[in-house]
Amino acid sequence: MATTTVGLQRTWRRPGKPVLVAAVLLAWVLIWVPARGVHTLGLSPADLTPLHHWLNDVNDTVGANRDSSPFFLYFFNEIRAAVDSLVTFLQDLIAQPSYGRPVPVLGWLGVVAVVAYVSWVFAGWKPALLAAAGFVFFGLQGLWEESMDTLALTLGAVVISLLIGIPLGIWAGLSDRFHKLVTPVLDFMQTMPTFVYLAPLTLLFLIGPASATIATLIYAMPPAIRLTAHGIRSVPRSAVEASESLGATGRQKLTGVLLPLSKGTIVLGVNQTIMAALSMVTIAALIDAPGLGKTVIKALQTLDVGTAFNAGLAIVVMAVVLDRVTTAAGNRVRQTGRAARFRRPLLAVFGVVAAVCAYLSHTYYWAAEFPDDVTIGGTLAKSADSVALWAQQDLSTATEAIKNAITYALLNPLEALLVESPWWLVGAVAVLLAALLGTVRSVITTAACVALLIGTGLWQDSMTTLAMTIVATAMVMLLGVAVGVWMGRNRFADRIIRPVLDAGQTMPAFVYLVPFLALFSATRFTAIVAAVVFAAPVAIKIVADGVRAIPAATAESATAAGSSAWQMITKVQLPMARPSLTLAANQGLIYVLSMVVVGGLVGAGALGYDVVAGFSQGQLYGKGLAAGAAIVLLGIMLDRIARASSPSKGSN
């Protein structure tokens, strides 16, 4: 419903529009009353449509021809071998016993020293200390080897993502046509649920590091491409023109002007790629990816919340370390670009220290294997366990009441409206809303999405999922505005809350599913809560940045004019941060949609369950694939309507 609120805020500009939107919605309810229950296009979870059967057949044919087709022998097998050897090399280096030795090439001391040194060189003192502390923490958790496996796989995926992503991003930055072509592909890569392509990937690239890496990079590459393109496109025209007037060739323009000026944004792309890659750790473990994800999945089998939490915490720490280091490196690139001269001797000295540590960790057991007598992992797991148990026993009555209140008051009526309406009614409302809020193009896109949704054979499930998505996105925006404004106005609050947001974004959902299930039962509401935990941090961060970016002079003049804090927020800060609010709604929505599948694991049913079941049962494979496509279509439809309704087209 973010679309309508955006519309309502614009009363002053185009009067009548909110009234029309309200009229459309009212007409919907009025027609729904007599028409409810007909043409709802329901499909039982065990039933399939011809499309689903056909997709099954395609999958079978590919599997049957794997060993004979030259396409496989010379194309996929080659890619697989290359990726496998890269990741295996990284694992040999830091994670697994290798080259006939009982330990990896670099032991814990060496890895900590090298990571700290590299962080110091590129990012500075503080990130370097944080990195060293974070990596020692993995050892203390008793998860050194798992963490290094995860790091190796993540690095492998990130390196390949950047090797492919940055050149593609440059191309998309230079060519409008390619940019238009690649954007929907990137949308698709980011919203198609991973569960859908895990099984086909293992068919193409076999079981092993290669499949896990490729699954990861499909999700992780888009930010690198998008942000590189965005960086190049944001270079001021004047700079480009100046170089052109000096007679620079295309190549000189790129290396002399465009790339240097967009370096900061490209580093941000690297940062986002790393974060995305880390968010795939647990899912990749379902196809035997080594590392922390396996620990989480195994713990979930026995509902061992503590152990899962311990491993999840390691993933969060790794994400925070890599985020802070790359962000600091990005800021430094933006500010100076070159190391100050006086650092040179220090560079050499610390380089030697790191090299000595690396040598020691290669040679001596004490520096190679993290001492396991100082573990705090068990303690961490136990305390997480007791917190979870306490919550389940003492809080669940209260949380059950909250769940019921929101489900009966908000979710059930909305779902009834969407699910029980005939398909043509919902379709007409969507197209009308697109027409009212957007352009001809958004009308065409919306109509096409509605038609394709019907084509997937999963219309009713899509509507159930849509109802949950709308409620979750509304909650995300509520939190985004409330907490985001607070953080934007208060530096101290920002400093306290931001790590919590990082944890919400990177803690694998599998870790908190069990406590959530105990608190809210296996329901759609649990799925909504899980989605909000994951999506709200993004929205909050974007809103906070938007509020902070408002020029100090504006705020001061408002204060001088005697406005209260409330007036300040509602009359100045929120209206001025509106582009950020739109972007927050857009990203919040995409993040909510990416949790649909996790929702399917905790009682959401509908599309999420279809995808999960399709991953688990062969005869449902085609249906799962169709459900994945339906999620993508919902995302495109909502995004285009929302984006069309905002005055400044939100960039992503």
Partner: protein, 320 residues
């Protein structure tokens, strides 16, 4: 500046000095047998994601490594992907298979990349269960004929005005929607979506004495913690589930079996012989599953504990 350099140099020297005390890598020979390994080679064992399976795999892997000197590579995979691995040569054996007639048809009959390797000795039961407190308080609830009487109790925010039947781990086949319809039960199937969700639901229901009826299965480690009570549906007879839409009978008893890749079977190595000979009871599996799930032993330690307590059974497998 100078000071920094001095401290750094001092640090390097200190590091180099402290190092002298430690044990060098490579001084002591790497433990591990290379003698038996040649005979057995590498054994790729799929590990499907549930604890019962892990118990089977743990014991087979332990015996293969300790008694036969195999190098066992365990691969954590979902069933579908594990079966797929037979064709690509990445998986040698699956050691607890629940039915999966469609996969048998595809990989054993059509692609001919897999072959059956006998039963595990475990019997799988699928059905509807209630928490023990309900069975004690309402003894007649275990007969499906009485379920409509209790439907109102099972109402939740998810089931509208009907009773909620909490279904599914998506990995398992379910006929529940057809059953509800054909037995004319006033229930709505709600898809929990994962084993974790089902177990948590039953745990909470027993702890807080709230009503719950749901899909579950044995053998399962959770039943050692909470003895759920099965509701009897109309008896299963061969063929009564032939038409999925018309099912009105209980689930069949699953005879759990082992599947291996064709190549692995043809090679007829020691690991294959072990897999083929492996068989044990539900009680055996429950013990090992309990070691893993409740006592938090590693798979290897759990297997060791059981093998040392049951030398005769292990001997019998190896004798064949």
């Amino acid at each position: 500046m100078k000071l920094l350099r001095l401290t750094a140099t001092a640090a390097v020297t200190a590091l180099a000095l402290t190092a002298c005390g430690g044990e060098k890598i490579g001084e002591t020979p790497v433990a591990g047998s290379s003698s038996g390994a040649a005979a057995c080679g590498t054994f790729n064992l799929a590990v499907n994601p549930w604890v019962g399976y892990e118990a089977n795999a743990a014991v087979i892997a332990y015996v293969a490594e300790k008694n036969l000197g195999c190098t066992v590579t365990k691969k954590d995979l979902k069933e579908e992907i594990a079966w797929q691995g037979f064709g690509t040569g990445e998986v040698d054996a699956i050691v607890e298979n629940w039915g999966h007639d469609d996969l048998k048809k595809k990989y054993i009959d059509e692609q001919k990349t897999a072959v059956a390797a006998g039963e595990t000795g475990n019997k799988g039961v699928i059905g509807w269960y209630v928490p023990p407190w309900m069975a004690a308080q309402y003894p007649d609830i275990t007969d499906w004929n009485n379920l409509n009487k209790y439907a109102a109790q099972f109402k939740t925010s998810e089931s509208g005005d009907k009773g909620q039947l909490l279904d599914g781990d998506p990995s398992f086949v379910t006929n529940d929607e057809a059953l509800v319809k054909n037995l004319k039960l006033n229930y709505k199937v709600v898809y929990a979506g994962s084993e974790a969700a089902l177990i948590t639901a039953f745990r909470q229901a027993e702890a807080k004495k709230t009503p719950l009826i749901g899909y579950f299965y044995e053998p399962q480690w959770f039943l050692a913690e909470l003895k759920l009570v099965k509701v009897s549906l109309p008896k299963y007879e061969t063929g009564c589930d032939a038409d999925a839409a018309k099912v009105a009978c209980d689930y069949p008893e699953y005879v759990l079996d082992k599947i291996v890749s064709k190549k692995f079977a043809d090679a007829n190595g020691p690991a294959y012989k072990l897999v083929k000979a492996f068989t044990w009871t539900n009680d055996d599996q429950n013990v090992v599953a309990k070691y893993i799930a409740e006592d938090k032993l590693s798979a290897d330690d759990a297997a060791k504990k059981w093998v040392e307590a049951n030398p005769d059974k292990v001997k019998a497998w190896l004798a064949q």
